[in-house]
């Protein structure tokens, strides 16, 4: 379905700014604190970037899992390794009242954000009860609709795991 989009990206370096409902997006999971002992996603895996309402993801339908992994590996440090990907359907994410928007500027082509409408507070500031309830509700909904793929070969540069599919 996204063959033409992938060709356009490879040949012309072009990608539509519009994120289609049919696309899949992935969130790279780095922190051991974002998966539990049973290798399931925790709510914190979908905490927004500080002082924003944005949860960074990649447009995997167009980038493909190899590029997603390559981009994710660039974010690694000696103390922070890629653990896997949380895969979401854009349509399902939007059906939960979240926005999914392209956010290549300042990032990279293929970067997108899930926007929740609830801005994270400044550094070290605890949320109000209502904000905390909303945050956890958002995260719980995202965890519910996401499928987590632990990376079976985290040190390899290419994705060698299963084909990335959404839930359902």
């Amino acid at each position: 379905m996204f063959i033409l989009a992938r060709i356009a990206l490879r040949v012309f370096g072009w990608m539509s700014v519009e994120v289609a409902d049919e696309e899949l997006i992935v969130r790279a999971i780095f922190s051991p604190y974002h998966v539990d002992s049973k290798n399931k996603l925790k709510l914190e895996a979908f905490h927004p970037t500080p002082q924003t309402d944005e949860i960074s993801v990649m447009r995997s339908s167009i980038l493909g899992p190899r590029t997603c992994k390559r981009m994710a590996k660039k974010l690694e440090t000696p103390t922070k390794t890629l653990r896997g990907f949380a895969v979401l359907s854009v349509r399902t994410t939007r059906s939960e009242s979240f926005q999914v928007i392209d956010s290549r500027h300042g990032n990279f082509l293929g970067h997108a954000d899930i926007r929740t409408g609830l801005t994270a507070p400044a550094k070290g500031v605890a949320r109000s009860a209502d904000e905390l309830l909303r945050l956890r509700d958002h995260c719980r909904r995202l965890v519910t609709i996401a499928r987590y793929y632990a990376d079976p070969f985290p040190t390899k540069l290419q994705w060698k795991g299963q084909k990335l599919r959404p839930l359902g």
């Binding site: 780095f30 927004p48 500080p50 960074s56 690694e76 070290g124 605890a126 949320r127 309830l133």
Partner: protein, 156 residues
């Protein structure tokens, strides 16, 4: 009522209680607290986890998250000690760093959840179950036995 079926019903807390109950737990040194009689397994497991947070650096999640500061970790440590000391039957919370440099304690039961977010200067949280929602908030130095007893009561 929100989508979880929780009704927003403020909990009445007596602020006069805050500065009088166990204030030393929040201004003194961790090492000075008598923890001889506390629930050691819960405490040790939780403290080990918080100790791990202290080695985090900014951007620990790959998305620009702030690392919890020493002050936040100290407050979280003190909270664990206070829970273990006064409420040894309370089950271990799930403790996680948040992207904004705070630490979140949560207890989930079949009926709902209790959540506490510890910041550098303030705390926020709630106890939510069907039919009731009790918000918690205030200065982290005044987080008292009163709030914790509400949580313990819910978990009990």
């Amino acid at each position: 009522m929100n989508r979880n079926g929780l009704i927003y019903q403020p909990l009445q807390l007596q602020s006069a209680y805050y500065s009088t109950v166990l204030p030393s737990l929040f201004v003194g040194d961790v090492a000075t607290i008598n923890i001889a009689a506390v629930s050691s397994s819960m405490r040790n497991e939780s403290l080990k986890r918080i100790e791990g947070f202290q080695s985090l650096r900014d951007n620990w999640d790959g998305y620009g998250a702030y690392a919890p500061s020493g002050a936040v970790c100290n407050h979280a440590t003190l909270l664990i000690n206070q829970l273990a000391l006064d409420f040894p039957d309370v089950p271990s919370p799930d403790i996680s760093p948040s992207s904004n440099g705070t630490v979140i304690f949560s207890w989930e039961t079949g009926l709902g959840e209790a959540v506490l977010e510890i910041g550098e200067a303030n705390f926020g949280g709630y106890i939510g179950k069907p039919g009731s929602f009790a918000p918690l908030s205030g200065n982290v130095n005044s987080l008292s036995k009163q709030e914790l007893s509400v949580i313990a009561g819910y978990l009990g």
